[in-house]
Amino acid sequence: MEELQHLLGEKLSGVVDETFETMAFINTEEVDEDQLPVNEEQLREARLLVTSPIVMEIHLHLAEELLHQIVETMYTIDEEDITDEQIVDVLAETLNTLAGRLMTELLPPDQAFSLSLPEIVPNDHTPLDENIVFSAFYLADDLPVSIKISAAALEELEGLLKH
């Protein structure tokens, strides 16, 4: 299990860095949770299910300020022209891309996988803490990014890994 956690962390760091760099020209740095300038009210969350070959849920939390920066960069628009529709679409598309890249990195080339459509989590939801099996924290332009994976049995993934 420790080896799996290490592999997930290693693959996820590469995927996060590549995704933010390609989508928004932003570099990321992995940090410990206590290094995050976290204010829960300023975070937006999206989640997505991996539905095969195993079932797990990936949660992405991004700082609202970071989402504004990404939208400004990607859409080449001014802050005052940003809409909430653009914010949630960027959040969902970032998670969709991250999840796909992560599964591609983790699974053998001959192993197909399926993802659900990403879903925006309302701010007043009850966090699903008991099934979190992996967490990673990053800073992107000094703003917090966190990724949490929940699964009933992450051990199933170990049998499918390519390494």
């Binding site: 989508m23 990607m74 679409d89 598309e93 969709n96 999840a99 796909g100 591609t104 192993q111």
Partner: protein, 124 residues
Amino acid sequence: MKRIVIADDSGTARMMIRRCLEIVGFSEAEFEEAKDGREALALMKKNPPDLLVSDLNMPSMDGETLLQWVKASPKLVNVPVLVISSVTNPAKTAELKQKGAFAVIGKPVNPALLNEALAPILSE
């Protein structure tokens, strides 16, 4: 002028794909955007495009079903279909090409990937 249909449920993804296509040589193209496979199919039936760029994971009609509709339609069978999706790996790529996809690219898309995938079309 080339006509290109982009099907993706994310407006952000459609915008990124369009910008990358403009960079690699389609700056003069006419773009039409669809939020899912049904919308894309409706656009194409009216007027077959020179290229369809499609995501896989979409509501209503997914990209794989759209690809099958296109390749089963005598009017659309010759439209090249480029799949750009987060759900790609060598196994999925081979399956999609067997179903008629011209090329398959994983997200996040960038101009270099598109340039390589579309080289045969760009040289026409």
